[in-house]
């Protein structure tokens, strides 16, 4: 597709359930980022992939969060044993590596509500 696609758009989970959020980046984009956005706040970095390699996962809040990009295109963010504080919008962004500019193209996000 022309843009970054995320699914599902909305996810309601009971506390303790596992969830998987999918990101389909712009075709050919080498870099892929996951961010978490709380209401009224800016996006907060979670993790970064260059092709299939996860080069930075310093923003993952706990070991319940896991991300993968096995073939260097589609990525999945998995949250195990969800807790209420995980409720947020999860944004995926992709970027080409032309020059040093790091312009990022975002998907619409997945809104996760943990009850």
């Amino acid at each position: 597709g022309a843009g970054v696609s995320q699914s599902p758009r909305y996810k309601v989970a009971k506390r303790g359930q596992d969830v998987a959020l999918r990101c389909d980046p712009i075709s050919g984009h080498v870099s892929l980022f996951w961010y978490q956005q709380a209401l009224g706040q800016g996006p907060e970095f979670l993790t970064y992939f260059q092709n299939e390699a996860q080069l930075d996962k310093s923003g993952l809040p706990s070991d319940r969060f896991f991300a993968e990009r096995p073939e260097g295109s589609v990525s999945t963010l998995k949250i195990q044993r969800t807790q209420q504080e995980d409720s947020a919008v999860y944004l995926c962004a992709s970027s080409s590596q032309s020059g040093q500019q790091n312009i990022q193209y975002f998907g619409a996000g997945t809104r996760l509500s943990v009850l």
Partner: protein, 114 residues
């Protein structure tokens, strides 16, 4: 610690006026500063990028300034329109640190009244 500040209160202006949004940062030396627009229920959309050695950048009705001494960027929308109403986010990019992720401010909500 690193900190990015944007006006947390909404900015309300009349159609046709110039909107000016502020982004201040501390303990940071970004090579680039970016501005994004975010509408409700949507992801951020890139608007403008300015480099550390540039003072000003323009694109149509948008103008960005970058003062690395003051550690501040100003974002201007001239001849504002109701369609400009959205949240505007500034983002810092410091690739020399090895970090590729953007660091975002909390955003300023702009409301343009007809």
């Amino acid at each position: 610690s690193q900190k990015i500040e944007q006006n947390s209160e909404a900015l309300n202006i009349q159609e046709g006026k110039t909107a000016t949004l502020t982004c201040n940062y501390t303990n940071y030396s970004p090579a680039y500063l970016q501005w994004y627009r975010q509408d409700p229920g949507r992801g951020p959309v890139f608007l403008l990028l300015i480099r550390e050695n540039e003072k000003e950048k323009r694109k149509e009705r948008l103008k960005v300034t970058f003062d690395t001494t003051l550690k501040q960027s100003l974002f201007h929308i001239t001849a504002s329109q109701p369609a400009d109403s959205a949240t505007y986010l500034c983002a810092l990019d410091a690739p020399k640190t090895g970090r590729r992720a953007l660091t975002f401010g909390s955003g300023t909500r702009l409301q343009v009244q007809p």
